[in-house]
Assembly symmetry: C2
Homo-oligomer: 372 residues x 2
């Protein structure tokens, strides 16, 4: 029985359930016309500059990638105004979360995180033998006061998803400043800023400026606004020392060469990011208006997705929409049983979402009326 | 001081030092005509079928990859005659090593491995709080008797690099059969078969047939014969139960979509593999002949690389060759101070290697004569 050889904490872990891939739905339901609004991807696709860079990179994939990601760090360094030594590149920012827990988290040390927030935080902490401490959101955003009150003698890490996934709300500069001022020196705070490109509020914190003053690690990704989720590339910004230690826990060739080339090109394509932002901003207004007119509640979002209260079992709504070829995300895994999360798509996708949601809710209304 | 917050075992780890990337050498030395024979890559490049598949895949990298690697597992399943449930795909087979230690290795449990063998085994074991137990090679290959004698009450894993890197020698079926027969049930044996496509001996063990009877995990990669090292993709073959548990320790999107597409196409291109094998086989004979005529000792190899005794400090030889644009690998990190490891290249690259090695050794002979 190999089960007896498995580490105790692995036995307790329930794997993360990702959004349904389009190909899988095609296989299962034999539907061809499918839209995926489930994984907060960029509906415009990757930048054309990135596509050109990838086309060039694929001919030399017989060579190992540059394990130090030299050129990408140079490019990011200029963009972010930090030293290349402040940067660590990962196989998606997910991997940076793992590198943080593997480098810093000792057995039974506590990791404070919001609930709900990105599920991988909890899983990664437990794989590293840490103890997740869940702090409820207030008004759908991280409650930094409650988080501070949860700090105890065994706290090692605090993970702040800003803006928060799956709610879309963020905490502002004043809150973060006050929180960090009182942060003890033996605690590391991770700000996961995967959606930062979509934030429109002016007082979104510039967390980089706390590096060196406090133990903080910032996570960013090329998976969202940059449209490179399929390639797996994200990064961390931290003190040089923190980066050096995390590098010891890192596989030497963790980031593939096509991703490195695409990310560098993508950073240069500011127009693509601007277009993506504009699309999301317009789509957001369109969806808000339609949800309003349907009488549905939702959370105002600083990201490219919207958390919508479907007013009934989200699982049923999710499944009905799936049958009609629209993939959204049901939120029971996040303990939000009545909520779906929809990624803002192209305007055509947004219209299809609204139409399908209306059909599904109307049908459900009728069937519930019938069954009364 | 963030150092005080780092886990004890991370502080002790010296990161793996990879072979020098061509781009880095170009930057450093301003040499344009460089050949890299340092990382056991396929000098023919990726398969043309894989290039076509990559070209198609790059346009949709804005979508997350299929986290289950459904299509690749189907393709591998047919090729290997195992169930898709016996397969786990990784960000290179390096990641499968990490998944094994993370899933099965408890604090202070022992991991037996050969010395020298692939350095990542030692690093991955220590990151997971395990204790590496190093067993010397005999005649440059894994000594299964000594390994069995090293099994103790705390042994959890045995890692067998077959053929061994960096020596190139393999253990055969009879040895493996005898070893596994007496293997206790509370130990997991990992066979790393990264170079299996290059093995010419007829009695190379078909380890797959032990799955289910013994706790074994087989590692394979697309980085070597398949020429996809830049994309990071490898896999493990194990019992369904072992795969299920390792999946809990796996990031949901650990394998990028371009790699998945390329790997599937690459499996279909048997001609490319046959050509690569032929090239290596011919190159091996050419290099053996030339090393013989230079009076240098070397280890007969079952892989696409050769361990060569340079008869003097390999570090100096490595550095002299580097200056002349030929990248090989110096073996001090493997405690083989007089040895270099050379990857078999194209015939042009092999000739360049021989010519450059002759120049470097002759020059060294002269300077040592002078200094007497």
């Amino acid at each position: 029985m190999i089960k007896n050889l498995v580490r105790r904490n692995i036995l307790d872990i329930k794997p993360y359930e990702p959004g349904k891939p389009i190909e899988e739905l095609k296989r299962e339901l034999n539907i061809l016309d499918i839209v995926k609004m489930a994984s907060n991807e960029n509906p415009l696709g990757p930048s054309k500059k990135a596509i050109r860079a990838m086309r060039k990179a694929i001919s030399t994939v017989n060579r190992y990638p540059d394990g130090s990601c030299y050129c990408l760090k140079e490019a990011l360094s200029k963009k972010l105004n930090v030293s290349p030594e402040n940067l660590i590149i990962g196989n998606g920012s997910n991997e940076i979360i793992e590198l943080v827990t593997r480098t810093f988290l000792d057995k039974d040390e506590e990791v404070i995180m919001s609930e709900p927030s990105f599920l991988i935080y909890n899983i990664a902490s437990r794989i590293s033998d840490g103890m997740p401490v869940m702090v409820p959101l207030t008004d759908f955003k991280a409650d930094l006061n409650k988080i501070r009150d949860s700090i105890g003698p065994r706290t090692k890490l605090i993970l702040i998803d800003n803006p928060n996934n799956p709610t879309g709300r963020s905490v502002g500069e004043a809150e973060v400043e006050g929180f960090l001022e009182k942060l003890p020196d033996n605690i590391i705070v991770v700000f996961d800023e995967a959606y930062n490109e979509f934030v429109e509020r002016e007082d979104f914190p510039d967390t980089k400026r706390y590096i060196g003053r406090k133990n903080i690690i910032i996570l960013r990704t090329f998976s969202k606004a940059h449209g490179l989720s399929g390639l797996r590339i994200g990064y961390g910004i931290a003190s040089k020392e923190a980066v050096q230690f995390m590098n010891r826990a890192r596989q030497p060739f963790n980031v593939n060469s096509v991703a490195q080339a695409a990310a560098i090109a993508s950073l240069r394509d500011e127009e693509h990011i601007a277009n993506s932002r504009l699309l999301i901003s317009e789509g957001k207004r369109f969806l808000y208006n339609n949800l309003d007119s349907m009488g549905l509640r939702y959370v105002k979002s600083d990201t490219n997705f919207i958390l919508v209260n479907a007013g009934r079992s989200a699982k049923a709504v999710f499944e009905e929409m799936l049958k009609k070829g629209v993939i959204v995300r049901s939120m029971e895994a996040y303990k939000l049983d009545d909520y779906i999360r929809v990624t803002i798509g192209t305007m055509a996708e947004n219209r299809r979402f609204v139409k399908t949601l209306k059909e599904v809710l109307t049908k459900n209304d009728r069937s519930s009326t019938k069954s009364v």
